[in-house]
Symmetry: C2
Subunit: 205 residues, 2 copies
Amino acid sequence: MGISDRKEREKEELRERILSAAKSLFLEKGIEKTSIRNIADQIEYSPGIIYHYFKDKNEIFHALHQGGFRQLMDKMSVLASVRNPLERLKAMGSIYVRFAMENPDMYDLMFIKEAPIDHVASSEHDDWKEGGGTFNYLRLTIRECIAQGNFQGHDEEALSYLIWSAVHGMVSLHIRKRCEVICSDRQTNIVADGLEEFFKMLDRL
Amino acid sequence: MGISDRKEREKEELRERILSAAKSLFLEKGIEKTSIRNIADQIEYSPGIIYHYFKDKNEIFHALHQGGFRQLMDKMSVLASVRNPLERLKAMGSIYVRFAMENPDMYDLMFIKEAPIDHVASSEHDDWKEGGGTFNYLRLTIRECIAQGNFQGHDEEALSYLIWSAVHGMVSLHIRKRCEVICSDRQTNIVADGLEEFFKMLDRL
DNA sequence: TGGATTATTAAACACTGTTTAATTACATTT
DNA sequence: AAATGTAATTAAACAGTGTTTAATAATCCA
């Protein structure tokens, strides 16, 4: 049936249009100030239509947040060329931080906001598989480091979490504007400086 | 004038009643789901009255968030008895993490949410002095550690930020439910385990 | 062309933060 | 004790929100 195929395509197309309208509005105004009516205006449909494509507002932002993980995973792909696991681990940190600084709103959505994760919790698949992929890559890299003799006496799982937490902490304090306590002439570069400091720590471990 | 004194007291009392109603509602329902009308209902006044005591909703939650910093600062006071700066630094981390785990909503308000900090930005005093006090204490402790020979080759300001970030990262990933990527049998204790791992790192630095 | 199905909308519901003008309460002065 | 002025308090409105419902428009199939 070619006709139902076309219908399927058209349906998918509108879904995509909703998503891209939501994304552009979200990036310029934030999640809270992007309303269903805003999105409907942008795509020139009535607000009600959106509920035929998404269960609720959270589901829209959960879909965007999935796209963010694809984006991040993509940036991580260059790491395959880095042989030394410790070097790869540091490169991973740099990529992670750069992604967060260049896409602060997307990072916020992926790792800070409660909205998309609430949707995960209330849906059938209770595992947060989007984040799981990148974390697993981190864990494997750290495993290689340990196998190579680094991080002696450390626990793989807890160390992975700690390392993730350190970079997440730095970028999230910055994104959520808690860095004003830092010495004013250091503020502009504090995230990069903090990361450097972290690399020094990892080297001496 | 005893009468205007009493009026002053009554005004202050109502302000306090608004604040405590806001706090209890906030702690059980979260900031977004606590409405001005909810607060007004609780204190048995009309919604409009609240605007004679607070400029807007953000100002209410900024006041609560200030209370949180007093609470945290208070818990930190036991640190005065710890002589060794490295031990004091670690004890500080423990207190910080415990505070966050025991008062997750208050921690969220203080270090994660954008609402109260938006109020700071839009008010006359653009410095975030509530957070500044505790951070300064961290900085001084680290300065002592460096003076004692610890953390050689590290920069005081950047290291302070990194250490804060590490603990903030761990608790905020937990509070915002991003820990589901962690091996399921490790999840319940992951924050404590991560902190232990961090202490090991600091010891070997 | 008629009937069934689907897509789309308008309208309503129950909320939200905030502002306005009107009202009540009360201390002070006549 | 009555009138006045001031401060506290409220009711009502405004413009917005997410979401659901029933009605309408468009489309496909027999």
